[in-house]
Amino acid sequence: MIKRLKKINKAKIFIGFASICGFLLFWYLGTAYTEVGKVMASPIDLFWRFLQSAYEPIGPHTIWGHLLSSISRVMMGFALASVCGILLGLVMGSSPLGEAIARPLFELLRPIPPIAWISIAVLWFGLGEMAKYFIIFLSGFFNITINIYTGAKAVDQELIGAAKMLGCSDRKIFTTIVLPSSVPYIFTGLHIALSSSWAAVVAAEMVRSTDGVGWLITQGMGISDTSQIMVGILSIGVVGFILSSIMRGVEAKLCAWSRVEKS
C-alpha cells in the first residue's frame, strides 16, 4: 500500500516537473519565433535578468531588498491580523453574547475587498507604512476570524460533555477542548490569510511606494521594461509558493491528529 502511494507520488512529481518544463518550452518558442517576442522577454533572458537583479540594484535595492521590504510588511500586517482574528473568532464562536454583538458588523464589513480600503487608508494614515499595514491587516483579518469562528462553533458538544464528566471545569473546557479542536480551522484561516496578505501587499505597493515588489512592477511599467515587470511577477509567484509551503509544513506537524493515515 505504502509502496504504491510512493510510486504515485513519484509519478506526480515527475508529471508536475514535466508540465513546468513544457510551459517554459512553449514560452520560449513563442517568444523566439512569433511576434510575442517583441512585447515579452524569453524565459532565458528573463532568467539572466533575474540573476542580474540579485546583485545589481533596481532603484533603491536589489531584488532581495525589495522582497525583504514586501515580506516584512506582510509579516507585520499578518501578525496583527492573526492576533486580532484568532481572539475575535474565538470570542464569537464560544460566547453567544460576543457573537450577537460582533457578527452583524463583521458580516457587513467582510465582503468589502481590502483593495477598496486603499484610498481611505491613505487619507487616514498618509502614504507611509501604516496604510500598507492596514490593508494587509484587513485582507488577513476577516479570513482568519471567519475560519476560527466556524471552528469554535463546530466543537463537538459530545466532547464538551465528555470533558465535563471527566471533571473538567468550565474554564478549562476552553483551553483543553475548544482551542485544540479549533486548531485545524485556525490553520486554514492563517493559510488563506497569508496568501491574501501577500496579494494585498503587492496591490498596496503598486498604489504608492518607494520599494517592494509592487513598486518593481509599477516602476517597470513607467519605463516600459517588460522584463523588470516579469521579474517582479515571477518573484511574487515564487515567494507566495514558498510561504504557502512553509504554512503547509507547520500545519502538517500540528494537525497530525486530523490527518494521519490509518496504518
Partner: protein, 260 residues
C-alpha cells in the same frame, strides 16, 4: 463450576433513580421518552439495561449523568443528589467520543490532568489502565490511527482511570463487527474482574446482556418504562450454549412484545 472465589457482597446501592421521567419538546409537541423509571445499581455489579433501539436508553444514561437532566424524579449517587455533570459518573459513549487531538495516553490521563494531578503520578496511573485494557504499545497513537475496538478500549480506560463511582456504558460495542464484539465483551468482563466497578451497561443485544449482567432491566419501547427485572446468577464466564443461558434467553424473549 465455581470460577468466582469471592464476589464482593453487593448490597450498598451506589446509584438510585426514583420515578425518573423525561420529556422533549420538539415543534411545540411534547414527546415522553422516559416514564417513571425507578432503579438502583449496587456496588460493583454490572447492571444491564436492555431495550429496543430508539426506546430512550441513551436519554436515560444522559439523565443519570446530568448531561441532559431528567424533567421529573430524582437521581442520587452515593446519597448525593445529581444535578450537574461531574467525575462521579463516567460515561463511555455510544459514539466513543475520544478527544481526537490527544494520543491514547493523553485521552486516558485527561481526567487526572484537569484535576491537577502531577505528571509522574498520573502517567503511572494511566499506564496501569492502558495496560489493563490491553493497549500497551499504542500510548502514542492518535484515535484516528486505531481500529474501532481499540478506540473503545481507550474509551473504557479513560473512564476507568478517572475512578468514578459509577460507570455508564452506552452500547459501547454497538459499532463493532460481531467477532470484535464478542472479544470486547470478554475483555470487559476480564477488566471488571481484575478491578471491580459499578457499571450500568446499556445494550439492545440480548446475548451481550446475559453474558455480562448481574441483573438485567428490560425496558419497553418509547416511552421507556421498566418492564421487568431479571437476575443473572449463574457463574462467569458464561457461554451462550449453557442450558441456563438458553433458558434465560427464552424467558426474556417471552416477555418482549412481538413488535420489539
Amino acid at each position: 463450576m465455581c470460577l468466582e472465589p469471592s464476589r464482593e457482597i453487593m448490597t450498598n446501592s451506589v446509584i438510585k433513580c426514583e420515578n425518573v421521567s423525561k420529556q422533549f419538546y420538539s415543534d411545540g409537541e411534547m414527546v415522553q421518552v422516559l416514564e417513571d423509571i425507578s432503579l438502583e445499581a449496587r456496588e460493583n455489579e454490572i447492571l444491564v439495561i436492555f431495550g429496543p433501539g430508539q426506546c430512550g436508553k441513551t436519554t436515560l444514561l444522559k439523565a443519570i449523568a446530568a448531561l441532559e437532566p431528567a424533567t421529573g424524579g430524582t437521581i442520587t449517587i452515593n446519597g448525593k443528589k445529581k444535578t450537574k455533570p461531574g467525575p462521579e459518573c463516567g460515561l463511555v459513549y455510544q459514539t466513543i467520543a475520544l478527544f481526537p487531538w490527544l494520543t491514547t495516553m493523553g485521552n486516558v490521563e485527561y481526567g487526572l490532568k484537569v484535576k491537577g494531578m502531577g505528571k509522574k503520578e498520573r502517567r503511572e496511573r494511566a499506564n496501569k489502565y492502558i495496560k489493563l485494557v490491553g493497549l500497551e504499545g499504542f500510548e502514542k497513537s492518535f484515535p484516528i490511527q486505531l481500529s474501532g475496538g481499540m478506540k473503545q478500549r481507550v474509551g473504557i480506560a479513560r473512564v476507568y482511570c478517572n475512578e468514578p463511582d459509577v460507570m455508564l456504558l452506552d452500547e459501547p460495542f454497538g459499532h463493532l463487527d460481531a467477532q470484535t464484539r464478542y472479544l470486547m465483551q470478554e475483555e470487559l468482563e476480564r477488566i471488571w474482574q481484575t478491578e471491580k466497578r459499578t457499571i450500568i451497561f446499556v445494550t439492545n443485544n440480548m446475548e451481550e446482556a446475559i453474558y455480562l449482567a448481574d441483573r438485567i432491566i428490560v425496558l419497553t419501547n418509547c416511552p421507556a418504562k421498566i418492564k421487568q427485572e431479571f437476575k443473572v446468577d449463574f457463574p462467569r464466564p458464561r457461554n451462550i450454549t449453557d442450558p441456563e443461558f438458553l433458558k434465560l434467553r427464552k424467558e426474556i424473549t417471552g416477555i418482549l412484545d412481538p413488535l420489539e
